[in-house]
C-alpha cells in the first residue's frame, strides 16, 4: 500500500486524545515544560471532539471552597457512598482540592458561568454542580491546549502504544494512522498521557437501526483509553463497575438539572411514588450501612445512583411502567421551562428534537424515563480505568509508585475516563486530572527517568503491518464473492460490533436480561470473546473510514474482555441497579471491600486478577 510513514521524533509529552482530560494535559504541560516538545494526537478535531463535542450545560464537579461551600473531603465522602465504597480516595481528594482552580480559569477564558444574583456565587444546580452556558466549552478549552502544544495532529486514530526496547515495561510513544490520508504516523515520545475517553456501544443499545447512534455517551467514545492501556499491559481497576443511566426515554436527555434545579420528580404509571417501597428489600441486599433512607433524609446523604436505578428497574419489571418524570408542575414557570429546554440544547440536542418530533410538551405531559444500556467509563458515577499512582502527600504505599496519575507502565499516564477509581470527576475533574498528569510527566523526564529509550524499526514495521491488515484482508478476499457483505473469510466492523454488543448484552448483564449475569454466563461469554478475538484478526476494511471503525472495534473488544474478567472476579452484587450477579446477590463487605485489579499479559493475552486494599479518608 502506498501510505507514507511519517515519524515525529523527540517528543517529550505526547497527549493521546484531547477531550477534557487531554486538553488539560496539553495546556498544563507547557507550564512545567516550557522547553519541552508537547504534541497532541487526536482522532477527530479537537475543537469538537470527545464527550463534550456538543457542549455542556453544567460543570458537575466544583467545590466552591471560595464561597465557603465544600471541602475536598466532602466530595470524597459523596463519591464513596455513591459508589458503594469502591473508590480511590487519594486520587479523589487530589482531584477535588485542585478542581476549582481549573473552573476559575475557564471563566477567565470566556466560558459563561451563571451567577446566583442573590449571593454572587456561581449558580448551583446541586451541591456539586454549577450551571453554565457551555455550548462552546470544548472550543474554549481546545484553544488553551492549542496555545500550549507544539503540534496538534487532528484525525489520527492512535491504535497502539510503542514500548521501549532497552527497559521492560516503559513506554516510548504511540502509533496510528491518519483517518483522511491513510498515512501511518509514528510518535516517538518520552512520556505518553492517554486521555482517549470511555466506551459507548459495547453493550447492545436500546435503540435499533438508524437510531443506534443515539447512545448516552458519544458513539465515538470507542474505549480507546482502555484498549491502548490494556494492550500495553497496564493494570486496570474496577472495570466491572459499568454504569447504567436513568434518562429520558429514547433521547437520553440528562436529568441532573431536572431533579436538582427544576425540582421535578419521578412516579410510576399510576402516579405513585415508587422508590421507597423497594428500600426494605434492597436494604437486605446491601445492608443498612449503604442504604439508610431515614439517615439520608435527615442528613442529605445521597442514596447511591445504582440503588435508585434498582428501584426504577424493579418497578417497571413489576408491571408499573413507564416511569414518568413529573415536569408539568415546574414547567408552568416560564423561566424554569426555558431552562429545561436550554439544558438539552446545550448538551443533548437530540432530546429536544425527539420531543418536537413526538409533540411532547413537558408543560402538558410528563415525559417517560428509562434505564439505558451499560457504559464503561470512569468520570461519571462510575470508576472504570487504569490503576494509577496517587500523589506523594496523600497516597498510602499501595497506591504510590512515584508519579501522580502514572499507570503501572513507566512513563505512561492517564487522565479523565482513563484513570480508575475516580468517579464524579466529570468535565472539570477530567481536565484537572490532565493537568496533574502533565506536571508529573514533566517531573518524570526532569528526573532522568526517560533516558535511553530505544524503539527499533522492527517494532515500527510490525505495528504498521498490523494496522493495515484489515484493508489487506479485504483486498485479498473481496473478489472471491460477487457482491455484498457476506463473505466466508471475513466480517466487517459493523458485523463485529453487532456480535460484541450481543454477547456483552446476553452474557455480561445488558439491558435485555435486566442487567443479570452469573459465573456460568460469564465463563461462556469469555469463551465467545476469545473466538471473537480470532475473528477480529479477519476483520475487513473497505476503506480508511472502515479502518477507523475496525480499530475502534478492537479497542472496544479489549475493554469488554476486561469488563467480563472483572465481573467474574468480584463474586458479589456490589452495585444493584448497575448489574447483578445472580449467584451472589448481596454486597459482601467481608470478602469484597476491596478494589479489583487486572493485568492482561500483552504476549499471551492471559489475565491475572488481584484484590487491592480499599483505603478511606478518615479523621486523623
Amino acid at each position: 500500500m502506498a501510505y507514507k510513514t511519517i515519524i515525529e521524533d523527540g517528543i517529550d509529552v505526547l497527549v493521546v486524545g484531547a477531550g477534557l482530560g487531554g486538553t488539560g494535559a496539553a495546556f498544563e504541560a507547557r507550564y512545567w515544560g516550557q522547553d519541552k516538545k508537547i504534541v497532541i494526537a487526536e482522532k477527530a478535531n479537537i475543537d469538537r471532539s470527545g464527550a463534550v463535542a456538543q457542549g455542556l450545560y453544567a460543570i458537575n464537579c466544583y467545590m466552591g471552597t471560595r464561597f465557603g461551600e465544600n471541602k475536598p473531603e466532602d466530595h470524597v465522602r459523596y463519591a464513596r457512598i455513591d459508589l458503594m465504597g469502591m473508590v480511590r480516595e487519594d486520587l479523589l481528594f487530589d482531584m477535588a482540592r485542585h478542581v476549582d482552580s481549573a473552573v476559575h480559569q475557564f471563566e477567565e477564558w470566556g466560558l459563561p458561568l451563571m451567577r446566583n444574583p442573590k449571593t454572587g456565587a456561581y449558580q448551583r444546580e446541586g451541591r456539586w454542580q454549577i450551571m453554565i452556558h457551555g455550548e462552546s466549552y470544548k472550543p474554549i478549552v481546545a484553544e488553551a491546549a492549542k496555545k500550549s502544544a507544539d503540534k496538534v495532529f487532528n484525525r489520527i486514530c492512535v491504535t497502539h502504544l510503542l514500548m521501549d526496547e532497552s527497559k521492560p515495561n516503559r513506554v516510548a510513544g504511540a502509533v496510528g494512522f491518519n483517518v483522511r490520508t491513510g498515512n501511518y504516523h509514528v510518535f516517538k515520545s518520552k512520556t505518553v498521557i492517554v486521555a482517549a475517553g470511555g466506551a459507548s456501544n459495547i453493550y447492545k443499545p436500546r435503540s435499533v437501526g438508524e437510531g443506534a447512534g443515539r447512545v448516552w455517551y458519544a458513539p465515538w467514545s470507542s474505549g480507546s483509553a482502555y484498549g491502548l492501556l490494556i494492550g500495553a499491559g497496564a493494570k486496570m481497576t474496577q472495570m466491572e463497575n459499568r454504569i447504567v443511566l436513568a434518562r429520558f426515554k429514547d433521547g437520553y436527555g440528562p436529568v441532573g438539572a431536572y431533579f436538582l434545579h427544576l425540582k421535578t420528580y419521578t412516579q410510576n404509571c399510576n402516579g405513585e411514588e415508587y422508590e421507597s417501597k423497594w428500600w426494605p428489600q434492597l436494604q437486605e441486599m446491601v445492608g443498612k450501612e449503604y442504604l439508610d433512607p431515614e439517615l439520608s433524609h435527615r442528613t442529605h446523604r445521597p442514596i447511591p445512583t445504582c440503588l435508585r436505578n434498582h428501584a426504577l428497574i424493579n418497578e417497571v419489571n413489576a408491571g408499573r411502567g413507564p416511569i414518568h418524570m413529573v415536569t408539568m408542575e415546574a414547567f408552568q414557570d416560564p423561566h424554569l421551562e426555558e431552562i429545561g429546554w436550554h439544558n438539552f440544547l446545550g448538551m443533548t440536542v437530540g432530546q429536544a428534537v425527539l420531543w418536537a418530533a413526538t409533540d411532547v410538551d413537558p408543560k402538558n405531559e410528563n415525559p417517560e424515563l428509562t434505564t439505558s444500556e451499560p457504559y464503561v467509563m470512569g468520570s461519571h458515577a462510575t470508576g472504570c480505568g487504569a490503576w494509577c499512582s496517587g500523589p506523594e502527600d496523600v497516597s498510602p504505599p499501595e497506591y504510590f509508585w512515584g508519579y501522580n496519575r502514572m499507570t503501572t507502565v513507566e512513563g505512561l499516564f492517564g487522565a479523565g475516563d482513563a484513570v480508575g477509581g475516580t468517579p464524579h470527576a466529570f468535565s472539570s475533574g477530567s481536565f484537572t486530572e490532565g493537568r496533574l498528569a502533565a506536571k508529573a510527566a514533566c517531573q518524570y523526564i526532569d528526573d532522568g527517568k526517560a533516558e535511553g529509550i530505544r524503539v527499533s524499526d522492527t517494532q515500527i514495521e510490525r505495528r504498521r503491518a498490523e494496522i493495515y491488515k484489515p484493508m489487506e484482508h479485504y483486498r485479498v478476499y473481496r473478489n472471491e464473492i460477487t457482491a455484498g457483505s457476506v463473505n466466508p473469510n471475513y466480517i466487517n466492523p459493523r458485523q463485529g460490533l453487532d456480535r460484541l454488543q450481543k454477547l456483552m448484552d446476553e452474557y455480561c448483564g445488558g439491558v435485555t436480561v435486566s442487567y443479570m449475569t452469573n459465573d456460568k454466563l460469564l465463563n461462556i461469554g469469555l469463551k465467545k470473546m476469545k473466538i471473537l478475538e480470532e475473528d477480529l484478526e479477519k476483520l475487513a476494511a473497505e476503506n480508511i473510514h472502515e479502518l477507523l471503525r475496525a480499530w475502534e472495534l478492537k479497542h472496544r473488544h479489549l475493554t469488554s474482555e476486561a469488563v467480563m474478567h472483572h465481573t467474574l472476579f468480584r463474586k458479589e452484587t456490589r452495585w444493584p441497579g448497575y448489574y447483578y450477579r445472580g449467584d451472589a446477590l448481596k454486597v459482601d463487605d467481608e470478602n469484597w471491600h476491596v478494589l479489583t485489579v487486572s493485568r492482561r499479559d500483552p504476549e499471551t493475552g492471559e489475565y491475572t486478577m488481584e484484590k487491592a486494599p480499599c483505603y478511606h479518608l478518615v479523621e486523623a
Partner: protein, 160 residues
Amino acid sequence: MPTFVYMTRCDGCGQCVDICPSDIMHIDTTIRRAYNIEPNMCWECYSCVKACPHNAIDVRGYADFAPLGHSVRVRRDEEKGVIAWRIIFRNGEKDMNLLAPITTKPWGQCTPKLKDAPAPSKDMRDSQLLFNEPKYIRLDDGGLHTLESNGLKMQAGVCY
C-alpha cells in the same frame, strides 16, 4: 436524528467534514457535495450543522422512533458570542426561539500562552501546586488542602 444535506445549498466546502467527531460527513465524489455516510453513528451533536457556512445541513429524527415533521434549527454567531435555536413541533402548536451566550470574551484572546509565563520556581516544582495555584483555588491567600491541614488520614478497611 441523523443529519442530511440540502442539494441546492451545499457547495462542497468541507467544513462539516473537518469538524464531525464521528468522521461521517463525507463529500460524495460524483456530486461533490457532503452527505452523512453512516447515520447510525451520528449523535445529532449538531457540530456540522453549526459549522456549515450555508445552513445546508439539517437533522431529521431517527427513523426508528422519531416521527417526521419537526424542526430544530440553529445559528451560532461567534462574533456576537451567541447561539440561537428555533424549535418547531410536529403539530405546529409549539414554536420556540431560544438564545444563549457561548462566550463572554473575544475568541481566542483570553487563554494564556504558558510558554511566556514566568517559569515555575524549584519550590513550586517540588510542591503539589499547579499553574496559577494556590491563588486560583480560592482566589484568596489560602493554601492547598492537604491531609494535614484538614486533619485527615488514609485508613485501610471498611468505612461508610
